[in-house]
Amino acid sequence: MKQHLEYQLFLTFFLIGATTFGGGYAMLPIIHREIVQRHRWLEEDEFIDVLAVAHSSPGAVAVNSAVFIGCKLRGFPGAIAALLGSILPSFFVILAIAVFLNHFAEHPAAVAAFAGVRPAIAAMIIAAMVKLGKPTLKTPVKLVYILGFLVLSAGFDVHPVAIILLGAGSGLLLAYLGDKGEKKGEQT
């Protein structure tokens, strides 16, 4: 059974790695379908927590999430299984292109297929946000927070790590103010 889960981790992240086009967030709907809906390795909220940690550390978000989830489920061997699964597809594809197909990017078939994939990636990222956000979007206050952070990130080009720190800080501040409020309530 133990062997089995590591094998599943490897295979699942291999599938995710093989279908992640266009960088980081494009793989979210696939990770979500596989990790949250199919294998139930994480809850929706836990998945967002993993993304937060993965995004605030060095390295690719896809690889970071793979290592984190592998380690959480099966310790260090699980981390290695998920890591290898997530990087081997791109490793072999790139190696094949480097050896055989130096002009792959200019091939008309590759250009046409990629013209179809590009808008699909944008739609996939938005669909992932809608699905992941469902538990959070239920509270109107949180929606205001999301819009606020979105304006900072997309409008003012604030660095992602700064957005993450602001988010964590606002959570801590709210909890601290909540404590104070409770104490005041007890005194009066």
Binding site: T19, T20, V53, A60, C71, I94, R118, Y145, A154, L174
Partner: protein, 173 residues
């Protein structure tokens, strides 16, 4: 010892690329093209085009490609290992720490505040991609069709992606 140098260079690049793949492009430019001269700028631009069209994070793709050009198969293997070493070390540490403190009040409060921030970052990534990808009526139709398939049906996202590639082959060539 080109293999060791490749490992160390990409270890350095991996360590300083916080916040997603495109942050490390200037780092690669400085370390690989200017300092080491393993690659010329046109070669690097070609690699970026390939990295965008092939699966996997841009960071991994460029490490594998540059490693191969500079040191063959083992160069590719060690450059890739270098760029993922920080992920392995830091994420194993973070997963172990977080599982200890997951129920702690302040950790919970911080995570609670992080969720809207992460959702905003995802939305912002979508806007960034959409700006360059949805440029005419055809791509807008692709965009809306994929969105409808993902939100209204239970089709696997991988299948949706393959459909989009097939439709691209039909309508764009």
């Amino acid at each position: 010892m080109i293999i060791l140098e490749l490992y160390l260079s990409f270890l350095k690049i991996g360590t300083f690329s916080i916040g997603g793949g495109y942050v490390m492009l200037p780092l690669i430019q400085q370390e690989i093209i200017e300092n080491r001269a393993w690659l010329s700028l046109p070669e690097f631009l070609n690699i970026l085009a390939i990295a965008e069209m092939t699966p996997g994070p841009v960071a991994i793709n460029s490490a594998t490609f540059i490693g191969y050009l500079a040191g063959g198969f083992w160069g590719a293997a060690f450059a890739t290992a270098g760029v993922v070493t920080p992920s392995l070390v830091l994420m194993v540490a973070a997963a172990s720490l977080l599982s200890h403190f997951y129920q702690n009040r302040w950790v919970r409060a911080a995570l609670d505040g992080l969720r809207p921030a992460v959702l905003a970052l995802i939305a912002s990534a979508a806007i960034f991609v959409a700006e360059s990808a949805v440029t005419d009526i055809m791509s807008a139709i692709f965009f809306l069709a994929v969105m409808a398939l993902l939100l209204l049906t239970r089709l696997h996202p991988v299948l949706v992606l393959l459909l989009a590639a097939a439709a691209g082959l039909i309508f764009y060539s």
